[in-house]
Protein backbone atom coordinates (compact mmCIF):
# COMPACT_ATOMS: atom_id res chain seq x y z
CA UNK A 1 0.00 0.00 0.00
CA UNK A 2 1.01 3.64 -0.27
CA UNK A 3 3.08 5.58 2.23
CA UNK A 4 -0.04 7.51 3.13
CA UNK A 5 -0.01 8.71 6.73
CA UNK A 6 -3.14 10.85 6.74
CA UNK A 7 -5.73 9.88 9.33
CA UNK A 8 -9.40 9.75 8.31
CA UNK A 9 -12.49 9.31 10.49
CA UNK A 10 -13.12 5.58 10.95
CA UNK A 11 -15.73 3.77 8.85
CA UNK A 12 -18.02 1.21 10.53
CA UNK A 13 -16.66 -2.32 9.87
CA UNK A 14 -20.00 -3.61 8.58
CA UNK A 15 -20.31 -0.81 5.97
CA UNK A 16 -20.69 -2.14 2.43
CA UNK A 17 -19.08 0.52 0.24
CA UNK A 18 -20.28 0.77 -3.32
CA UNK A 19 -19.89 2.92 -6.38
CA UNK A 20 -22.98 5.08 -6.91
CA UNK A 21 -24.93 4.96 -10.15
CA UNK A 22 -22.96 7.03 -12.64
CA UNK A 23 -19.51 6.11 -11.35
CA UNK A 24 -17.68 3.30 -13.12
CA UNK A 25 -14.20 1.81 -12.97
CA UNK A 26 -12.97 0.84 -16.42
CA UNK A 27 -9.72 -0.33 -17.93
CA UNK A 28 -8.60 1.61 -20.98
CA UNK A 29 -5.84 0.21 -23.15
CA UNK A 30 -5.36 3.55 -24.91
CA UNK A 31 -5.21 5.48 -21.62
CA UNK A 32 -2.75 2.95 -20.24
CA UNK A 33 -4.62 1.68 -17.20
CA UNK A 34 -7.57 1.96 -14.86
CA UNK A 35 -9.78 5.02 -14.76
CA UNK A 36 -12.68 5.94 -12.55
CA UNK A 37 -15.37 7.63 -14.61
CA UNK A 38 -17.82 10.03 -12.99
CA UNK A 39 -20.10 12.87 -14.09
CA UNK A 40 -17.88 15.18 -16.18
CA UNK A 41 -14.83 13.85 -14.38
CA UNK A 42 -12.15 11.24 -15.00
CA UNK A 43 -9.70 9.99 -12.37
CA UNK A 44 -6.73 7.79 -13.16
CA UNK A 45 -6.44 4.96 -10.69
CA UNK A 46 -3.19 3.13 -10.00
CA UNK A 47 -3.25 -0.65 -9.66
CA UNK A 48 -3.73 -0.58 -5.88
CA UNK A 49 -6.49 2.01 -5.97
CA UNK A 50 -8.20 -0.04 -8.68
CA UNK A 51 -7.88 -3.17 -6.52
CA UNK A 52 -9.64 -1.37 -3.68
CA UNK A 53 -12.38 0.14 -5.83
CA UNK A 54 -13.03 -3.21 -7.57
CA UNK A 55 -13.99 -4.63 -4.17
CA UNK A 56 -16.50 -1.87 -3.45
CA UNK A 57 -19.44 -3.74 -4.92
CA UNK A 58 -22.00 -3.12 -2.18
CA UNK A 59 -21.71 -6.85 -1.36
CA UNK A 60 -18.57 -6.98 0.77
CA UNK A 61 -18.22 -5.30 4.15
CA UNK A 62 -15.27 -3.07 4.97
CA UNK A 63 -13.94 -5.86 7.17
CA UNK A 64 -14.07 -8.36 4.32
CA UNK A 65 -12.47 -5.92 1.89
CA UNK A 66 -9.61 -5.16 4.26
CA UNK A 67 -9.04 -8.84 5.09
CA UNK A 68 -8.97 -9.66 1.43
CA UNK A 69 -6.52 -6.88 0.57
CA UNK A 70 -4.27 -7.64 3.54
CA UNK A 71 -3.99 -11.18 2.27
CA UNK A 72 -3.54 -10.22 -1.38
CA UNK A 73 -0.76 -7.78 -0.56
CA UNK A 74 0.66 -9.67 2.45
CA UNK A 75 0.43 -6.42 4.39
CA UNK A 76 -0.38 -5.72 8.07
CA UNK A 77 -4.13 -5.45 8.54
CA UNK A 78 -4.10 -2.20 10.57
CA UNK A 79 -2.00 -0.53 7.91
CA UNK A 80 -4.35 -1.69 5.14
CA UNK A 81 -7.37 -0.54 7.14
CA UNK A 82 -5.85 2.92 7.63
CA UNK A 83 -4.99 3.31 3.94
CA UNK A 84 -8.33 2.01 2.72
CA UNK A 85 -10.19 4.29 5.13
CA UNK A 86 -8.33 7.36 3.85
CA UNK A 87 -9.03 6.44 0.26
CA UNK A 88 -12.70 5.57 0.72
CA UNK A 89 -13.34 8.74 2.74
CA UNK A 90 -11.68 10.77 0.01
CA UNK A 91 -13.78 9.14 -2.69
CA UNK A 92 -16.99 9.56 -0.68
CA UNK A 93 -16.26 13.24 -0.21
CA UNK A 94 -16.04 13.62 -3.98
CA UNK A 95 -19.30 11.67 -4.31
CA UNK A 96 -17.48 8.84 -6.08
CA UNK A 97 -18.41 6.27 -3.44
CA UNK A 98 -21.34 5.48 -1.17
CA UNK A 99 -20.60 4.44 2.39
Amino acid sequence: MSEQTTVAPPIAPDTRPRLPHGVRLVHSEAQGGWVLLAPERVFKADAIAADIVKRCTGESTLTEIVDDLAQAYSAPRERVLADVTVMLRGLAEKKLLEL
Binding site: G22, V26, S28, A30, L37, P39, E40, V42, K95
Partner: protein
Protein backbone atom coordinates in the same frame (compact mmCIF):
# COMPACT_ATOMS: atom_id res chain seq x y z
CA UNK B 1 -0.57 0.74 -29.88
CA UNK B 2 -2.78 3.53 -31.11
CA UNK B 3 -1.77 6.18 -33.57
CA UNK B 4 -1.48 8.51 -30.58
CA UNK B 5 1.02 6.30 -28.90
CA UNK B 6 3.11 6.47 -32.04
CA UNK B 7 2.93 10.26 -32.12
CA UNK B 8 3.74 10.51 -28.41
CA UNK B 9 0.64 12.61 -27.88
CA UNK B 10 -1.73 11.74 -25.03
CA UNK B 11 -5.05 10.39 -26.29
CA UNK B 12 -8.25 12.42 -26.05
CA UNK B 13 -10.58 11.85 -23.11
CA UNK B 14 -13.89 13.37 -24.13
CA UNK B 15 -16.11 13.41 -27.20
CA UNK B 16 -18.76 16.09 -27.47
CA UNK B 17 -21.35 14.59 -29.78
CA UNK B 18 -23.65 17.31 -31.07
CA UNK B 19 -26.45 15.05 -32.26
CA UNK B 20 -28.56 17.87 -33.67
CA UNK B 21 -28.74 21.64 -33.70
CA UNK B 22 -32.54 21.52 -33.41
CA UNK B 23 -33.73 22.85 -30.05
CA UNK B 24 -37.04 24.12 -28.71
CA UNK B 25 -35.27 26.73 -26.60
CA UNK B 26 -33.82 29.96 -27.90
CA UNK B 27 -31.28 30.98 -25.22
CA UNK B 28 -29.46 34.12 -26.36
CA UNK B 29 -26.06 32.70 -25.30
CA UNK B 30 -26.38 29.34 -27.06
CA UNK B 31 -22.99 27.72 -27.70
CA UNK B 32 -24.02 26.48 -31.13
CA UNK B 33 -22.68 28.40 -34.14
CA UNK B 34 -24.70 31.18 -35.75
CA UNK B 35 -25.02 29.02 -38.86
CA UNK B 36 -26.97 26.05 -37.52
CA UNK B 37 -26.91 22.76 -39.37
CA UNK B 38 -30.29 21.55 -40.67
CA UNK B 39 -31.87 18.19 -39.92
CA UNK B 40 -31.23 16.82 -43.44
CA UNK B 41 -27.48 16.99 -42.83
CA UNK B 42 -27.49 15.12 -39.52
CA UNK B 43 -25.42 11.94 -39.20
CA UNK B 44 -27.43 8.74 -39.03
CA UNK B 45 -27.36 6.17 -36.25
CA UNK B 46 -24.94 3.88 -38.10
CA UNK B 47 -22.37 6.62 -38.50
CA UNK B 48 -22.60 7.58 -34.83
CA UNK B 49 -22.17 3.92 -33.97
CA UNK B 50 -18.90 3.86 -35.93
CA UNK B 51 -17.76 7.19 -34.48
CA UNK B 52 -18.28 5.96 -30.90
CA UNK B 53 -16.24 2.81 -31.57
CA UNK B 54 -13.46 4.79 -33.21
CA UNK B 55 -13.51 7.24 -30.30
CA UNK B 56 -13.20 4.46 -27.73
CA UNK B 57 -10.33 2.89 -29.67
CA UNK B 58 -8.62 6.27 -29.69
CA UNK B 59 -8.81 6.47 -25.89
CA UNK B 60 -11.96 8.55 -25.42
CA UNK B 61 -13.67 7.65 -22.14
CA UNK B 62 -16.73 9.86 -22.05
CA UNK B 63 -19.31 10.77 -24.68
CA UNK B 64 -21.29 13.92 -24.01
CA UNK B 65 -24.51 13.58 -25.96
CA UNK B 66 -25.49 17.14 -26.67
CA UNK B 67 -27.05 19.43 -29.22
CA UNK B 68 -29.17 21.51 -29.73
CA UNK B 69 -31.53 19.37 -27.82
CA UNK B 70 -30.46 15.72 -28.22
CA UNK B 71 -34.00 14.54 -27.43
CA UNK B 72 -35.04 16.07 -30.76
CA UNK B 73 -33.46 12.93 -32.27
CA UNK B 74 -36.05 10.15 -32.39
CA UNK B 75 -33.24 7.59 -32.24
CA UNK B 76 -31.66 9.04 -29.08
CA UNK B 77 -32.15 5.79 -27.15
CA UNK B 78 -30.37 3.80 -29.88
CA UNK B 79 -27.59 6.38 -30.11
CA UNK B 80 -27.09 6.19 -26.35
CA UNK B 81 -27.04 2.39 -26.45
CA UNK B 82 -24.45 2.57 -29.24
CA UNK B 83 -22.18 4.82 -27.19
CA UNK B 84 -22.51 2.58 -24.16
CA UNK B 85 -21.88 -0.52 -26.27
CA UNK B 86 -18.65 1.07 -27.49
CA UNK B 87 -17.61 1.23 -23.83
CA UNK B 88 -18.06 4.96 -23.38
CA UNK B 89 -19.41 6.72 -20.32
CA UNK B 90 -22.60 8.39 -21.55
CA UNK B 91 -23.57 11.85 -20.41
CA UNK B 92 -26.80 13.37 -21.71
CA UNK B 93 -26.76 17.17 -21.87
CA UNK B 94 -30.37 18.23 -22.20
CA UNK B 95 -32.68 21.21 -21.93
CA UNK B 96 -35.23 18.81 -20.49
CA UNK B 97 -37.77 19.73 -23.14
CA UNK B 98 -39.02 16.93 -25.36
CA UNK B 99 -37.82 14.21 -23.03
CA UNK B 100 -40.65 12.28 -21.39
CA UNK B 101 -40.24 10.26 -18.21
CA UNK B 102 -40.86 7.14 -20.30
CA UNK B 103 -38.07 7.88 -22.77
CA UNK B 104 -35.79 8.76 -19.88
CA UNK B 105 -36.46 5.31 -18.43
CA UNK B 106 -35.58 3.79 -21.82
CA UNK B 107 -32.36 5.78 -21.84
CA UNK B 108 -31.54 4.49 -18.38
CA UNK B 109 -32.20 0.93 -19.61
CA UNK B 110 -29.88 1.61 -22.55
CA UNK B 111 -27.09 2.36 -20.08
CA UNK B 112 -27.15 6.13 -19.75
CA UNK B 113 -24.69 7.06 -17.00
CA UNK B 114 -25.48 10.67 -16.17
CA UNK B 115 -27.85 13.52 -17.01
CA UNK B 116 -27.11 17.23 -17.10
CA UNK B 117 -30.12 19.54 -17.18
CA UNK B 118 -29.81 23.26 -17.78
CA UNK B 119 -31.81 25.66 -15.63
CA UNK B 120 -31.97 29.28 -16.84
CA UNK B 121 -32.89 30.88 -13.51
CA UNK B 122 -34.41 30.07 -10.11
CA UNK B 123 -37.24 32.51 -10.86
CA UNK B 124 -39.67 30.67 -13.19
CA UNK B 125 -40.78 33.73 -15.12
CA UNK B 126 -37.27 34.95 -15.70
CA UNK B 127 -36.14 31.43 -16.61
CA UNK B 128 -38.81 31.12 -19.30
CA UNK B 129 -37.99 34.57 -20.62
CA UNK B 130 -34.28 33.72 -20.97
CA UNK B 131 -35.06 30.40 -22.64
CA UNK B 132 -37.60 32.06 -24.92
CA UNK B 133 -40.02 29.24 -24.12
CA UNK B 134 -43.07 29.47 -21.88
CA UNK B 135 -43.34 26.65 -19.36
CA UNK B 136 -39.72 25.54 -19.80
CA UNK B 137 -38.86 25.97 -16.12
CA UNK B 138 -41.66 23.72 -14.85
CA UNK B 139 -40.84 21.00 -17.38
CA UNK B 140 -37.15 21.09 -16.49
CA UNK B 141 -37.97 20.63 -12.82
CA UNK B 142 -40.24 17.70 -13.70
CA UNK B 143 -37.49 16.09 -15.74
CA UNK B 144 -34.92 16.62 -13.00
CA UNK B 145 -37.31 14.87 -10.63
CA UNK B 146 -37.71 11.96 -13.04
CA UNK B 147 -33.91 11.65 -13.33
CA UNK B 148 -33.55 11.38 -9.57
CA UNK B 149 -36.47 8.93 -9.34
CA UNK B 150 -34.59 6.66 -11.73
CA UNK B 151 -31.54 6.98 -9.47
CA UNK B 152 -29.55 8.47 -12.34
CA UNK B 153 -26.96 11.02 -11.20
CA UNK B 154 -28.01 14.57 -11.99
CA UNK B 155 -25.99 17.69 -12.70
CA UNK B 156 -27.77 21.02 -12.90
CA UNK B 157 -26.11 23.51 -15.22
CA UNK B 158 -26.80 27.18 -14.68
CA UNK B 159 -25.48 29.76 -17.12
CA UNK B 160 -24.83 33.04 -15.37
CA UNK B 161 -25.31 36.52 -16.81
CA UNK B 162 -26.68 39.89 -15.76
CA UNK B 163 -30.33 38.81 -15.53
CA UNK B 164 -29.71 36.00 -13.01
CA UNK B 165 -26.31 36.61 -11.41
CA UNK B 166 -27.85 37.97 -8.19
CA UNK B 167 -29.67 34.64 -7.69
CA UNK B 168 -26.72 32.23 -7.75
CA UNK B 169 -27.52 31.18 -4.18
CA UNK B 170 -31.15 30.46 -5.07
CA UNK B 171 -30.10 28.49 -8.13
CA UNK B 172 -27.70 26.31 -6.13
CA UNK B 173 -30.42 25.83 -3.48
CA UNK B 174 -32.75 24.75 -6.28
CA UNK B 175 -30.17 22.26 -7.60
CA UNK B 176 -29.88 20.77 -4.10
CA UNK B 177 -33.67 20.67 -3.76
CA UNK B 178 -33.96 18.89 -7.11
CA UNK B 179 -31.52 16.23 -5.89
CA UNK B 180 -28.52 17.08 -8.06
CA UNK B 181 -25.14 15.71 -6.96
CA UNK B 182 -23.34 18.40 -8.89
CA UNK B 183 -24.01 21.92 -10.08
CA UNK B 184 -22.12 23.78 -12.77
CA UNK B 185 -22.05 27.53 -12.36
CA UNK B 186 -21.02 28.55 -15.86
CA UNK B 187 -20.73 32.15 -16.89
CA UNK B 188 -21.77 33.05 -20.42
CA UNK B 189 -19.01 32.60 -22.97
CA UNK B 190 -18.97 35.35 -25.55
CA UNK B 191 -18.79 33.56 -28.89
CA UNK B 192 -21.45 33.21 -31.57
CA UNK B 193 -24.85 33.98 -30.05
CA UNK B 194 -23.36 35.13 -26.75
CA UNK B 195 -21.12 37.59 -28.59
CA UNK B 196 -24.11 38.98 -30.45
CA UNK B 197 -25.88 39.56 -27.13
CA UNK B 198 -22.82 40.53 -25.11
CA UNK B 199 -23.92 43.98 -23.98
CA UNK B 200 -27.29 42.55 -22.88
CA UNK B 201 -25.73 39.70 -20.90
CA UNK B 202 -22.59 41.25 -19.39
CA UNK B 203 -22.72 41.56 -15.60
CA UNK B 204 -21.11 44.44 -13.74
CA UNK B 205 -17.83 43.93 -11.90
CA UNK B 206 -19.48 44.39 -8.50
CA UNK B 207 -22.01 41.68 -9.40
CA UNK B 208 -19.24 39.31 -10.44
CA UNK B 209 -17.39 39.90 -7.19
CA UNK B 210 -20.53 39.23 -5.16
CA UNK B 211 -21.14 36.08 -7.20
CA UNK B 212 -17.63 34.75 -6.54
CA UNK B 213 -18.05 35.36 -2.80
CA UNK B 214 -21.47 33.69 -2.90
CA UNK B 215 -20.01 30.57 -4.53
CA UNK B 216 -17.33 30.32 -1.83
CA UNK B 217 -19.98 30.58 0.86
CA UNK B 218 -22.16 27.98 -0.90
CA UNK B 219 -19.23 25.56 -1.18
CA UNK B 220 -18.79 25.68 2.58
CA UNK B 221 -22.49 25.41 3.31
CA UNK B 222 -23.02 22.44 0.99
CA UNK B 223 -19.69 20.66 1.50
CA UNK B 224 -20.20 16.94 0.96
CA UNK B 225 -23.79 17.42 -0.25
CA UNK B 226 -23.31 18.86 -3.71
CA UNK B 227 -20.22 19.39 -5.85
CA UNK B 228 -20.07 22.99 -7.09
CA UNK B 229 -17.99 23.61 -10.20
CA UNK B 230 -17.55 27.29 -10.99
CA UNK B 231 -15.04 29.46 -12.80
CA UNK B 232 -14.31 33.17 -12.93
CA UNK B 233 -15.99 34.75 -15.98
CA UNK B 234 -13.53 35.46 -18.78
CA UNK B 235 -13.80 39.21 -19.08
CA UNK B 236 -13.14 39.64 -15.36
CA UNK B 237 -10.39 37.02 -15.06
CA UNK B 238 -6.70 37.64 -14.50
CA UNK B 239 -5.57 34.63 -16.51
CA UNK B 240 -7.40 33.02 -19.42
CA UNK B 241 -9.14 29.67 -19.10
CA UNK B 242 -7.23 26.67 -20.49
CA UNK B 243 -9.82 26.38 -23.23
CA UNK B 244 -10.88 22.75 -23.85
CA UNK B 245 -7.81 21.76 -21.83
CA UNK B 246 -5.62 22.82 -24.73
CA UNK B 247 -6.36 22.77 -28.45
CA UNK B 248 -6.46 19.20 -29.82
CA UNK B 249 -5.24 17.84 -26.53
CA UNK B 250 -8.12 16.37 -24.50
CA UNK B 251 -11.30 16.42 -26.51
CA UNK B 252 -13.03 16.48 -29.85
CA UNK B 253 -16.37 17.79 -30.96
CA UNK B 254 -18.42 16.18 -33.73
CA UNK B 255 -21.08 18.46 -35.23
CA UNK B 256 -24.51 17.17 -36.28
CA UNK B 257 -23.30 16.83 -39.88
CA UNK B 258 -20.05 15.09 -38.92
CA UNK B 259 -17.42 17.81 -38.96
CA UNK B 260 -14.81 17.25 -36.27
CA UNK B 261 -13.76 20.36 -34.35
CA UNK B 262 -11.20 20.92 -31.59
CA UNK B 263 -13.89 22.95 -29.76
CA UNK B 264 -17.51 23.81 -30.39
CA UNK B 265 -16.76 27.36 -31.49
CA UNK B 266 -13.79 26.53 -33.74
CA UNK B 267 -15.72 27.24 -36.93
CA UNK B 268 -15.78 30.91 -35.94
CA UNK B 269 -12.09 31.03 -36.91
CA UNK B 270 -11.83 31.52 -40.66
CA UNK B 271 -9.37 29.56 -42.75
CA UNK B 272 -9.30 26.38 -40.67
CA UNK B 273 -9.81 23.14 -42.59
CA UNK B 274 -12.11 20.73 -40.76
CA UNK B 275 -12.39 17.10 -41.74
CA UNK B 276 -15.54 14.99 -41.51
CA UNK B 277 -16.24 11.57 -40.06
CA UNK B 278 -18.12 10.91 -43.31
CA UNK B 279 -14.79 10.81 -45.14
CA UNK B 280 -12.21 9.70 -42.60
CA UNK B 281 -11.68 7.82 -39.37
CA UNK B 282 -11.62 9.71 -36.11
CA UNK B 283 -8.01 8.62 -35.47
CA UNK B 284 -6.93 10.02 -38.84
CA UNK B 285 -8.71 13.29 -38.10
CA UNK B 286 -7.29 13.54 -34.57
CA UNK B 287 -3.76 13.03 -35.82
CA UNK B 288 -3.72 14.76 -39.17
CA UNK B 289 -6.57 17.21 -39.59
CA UNK B 290 -5.15 20.69 -40.33
CA UNK B 291 -7.63 22.28 -37.89
CA UNK B 292 -6.42 20.07 -35.02
CA UNK B 293 -2.78 20.74 -35.75
CA UNK B 294 -3.20 24.49 -36.22
CA UNK B 295 -2.81 25.39 -32.53
CA UNK B 296 -1.46 22.22 -30.97
CA UNK B 297 1.43 22.43 -28.57
CA UNK B 298 3.23 25.74 -28.09
CA UNK B 299 5.12 26.38 -31.35
CA UNK B 300 2.31 28.55 -32.80
CA UNK B 301 2.48 30.93 -29.85
CA UNK B 302 3.59 34.54 -29.98
CA UNK B 303 4.73 36.67 -27.06
CA UNK B 304 3.79 37.03 -24.26
CA UNK B 305 2.67 33.36 -24.40
CA UNK B 306 5.77 31.92 -26.06
CA UNK B 307 8.06 32.58 -23.09
CA UNK B 308 5.37 32.44 -20.39
CA UNK B 309 5.79 30.02 -17.48
CA UNK B 310 2.08 29.20 -17.75
CA UNK B 311 2.12 28.31 -21.44
CA UNK B 312 1.48 24.62 -20.80
CA UNK B 313 -1.00 25.40 -18.06
CA UNK B 314 -3.50 27.61 -19.89
CA UNK B 315 -2.27 27.02 -23.46
CA UNK B 316 -2.60 30.67 -24.42
CA UNK B 317 -6.27 30.69 -23.45
CA UNK B 318 -8.96 30.52 -26.08
CA UNK B 319 -8.20 30.76 -29.80
CA UNK B 320 -11.77 31.65 -30.68
CA UNK B 321 -11.74 34.53 -28.20
CA UNK B 322 -8.43 35.83 -29.57
CA UNK B 323 -9.96 35.84 -33.03
CA UNK B 324 -13.33 37.26 -31.95
CA UNK B 325 -11.78 40.20 -30.12
CA UNK B 326 -8.53 40.82 -32.00
CA UNK B 327 -9.02 39.23 -35.39
CA UNK B 328 -5.92 37.08 -34.78
CA UNK B 329 -6.47 33.50 -33.65
CA UNK B 330 -2.77 33.09 -32.77
CA UNK B 331 -2.69 36.05 -30.39
CA UNK B 332 -2.65 35.70 -26.62
CA UNK B 333 -6.22 35.46 -25.34
CA UNK B 334 -6.78 39.15 -24.51
CA UNK B 335 -8.50 38.36 -21.20
CA UNK B 336 -5.01 37.55 -19.86
CA UNK B 337 -3.63 40.46 -17.83
CA UNK B 338 -0.31 39.95 -19.64
CA UNK B 339 -1.91 40.58 -23.04
CA UNK B 340 -1.13 44.00 -24.55
CA UNK B 341 -4.82 44.11 -25.53
CA UNK B 342 -6.25 43.52 -22.05
CA UNK B 343 -7.53 47.11 -21.76
CA UNK B 344 -9.81 46.50 -24.72
CA UNK B 345 -11.51 43.60 -22.91
CA UNK B 346 -12.02 45.69 -19.79
CA UNK B 347 -13.59 48.41 -21.93
CA UNK B 348 -15.90 45.89 -23.61
CA UNK B 349 -17.04 44.63 -20.20
CA UNK B 350 -18.24 48.15 -19.41
CA UNK B 351 -20.57 48.12 -22.40
CA UNK B 352 -23.80 47.01 -20.69
CA UNK B 353 -27.13 47.75 -22.33
CA UNK B 354 -30.74 46.84 -21.82
CA UNK B 355 -32.66 45.77 -24.92
CA UNK B 356 -34.57 42.69 -26.08
CA UNK B 357 -32.36 39.63 -26.60
CA UNK B 358 -31.48 38.45 -30.07
CA UNK B 359 -32.74 34.91 -29.53
CA UNK B 360 -31.09 31.88 -31.09
CA UNK B 361 -33.12 30.72 -34.09
CA UNK B 362 -32.51 28.29 -36.92
Amino acid sequence: MTSNGASGRPPPIGLLAELTHRCPLACPYCSNPLALEPREQELDLGTWFRVFHEAAALGVLQAHLSGGEPAARRDLVDITAAARLAGLYTNLITSGIGLTARRLAELSEAGLDHVQVSIQDSDPQSADHIAGYRGAFARKCELAHAVVQLKLPLTVNVVIHRANIERIGDMVDLAVFLGAGRVEVAHVQYYGWGLRNRALLMPARAQVERALAAVEELRQRYHGRIVIDAVVPDYYARYPKPCVGGWGRRSLNVTPSGKVLPCHAAESIPGLEFWSVRDRSLADIWDHSPAFNAFRGTSWMKEPCASCARREQDFGGCRCQAFALLGDAAATDPVCHLSPDRAQVSALALDQQNAPYLYRRM
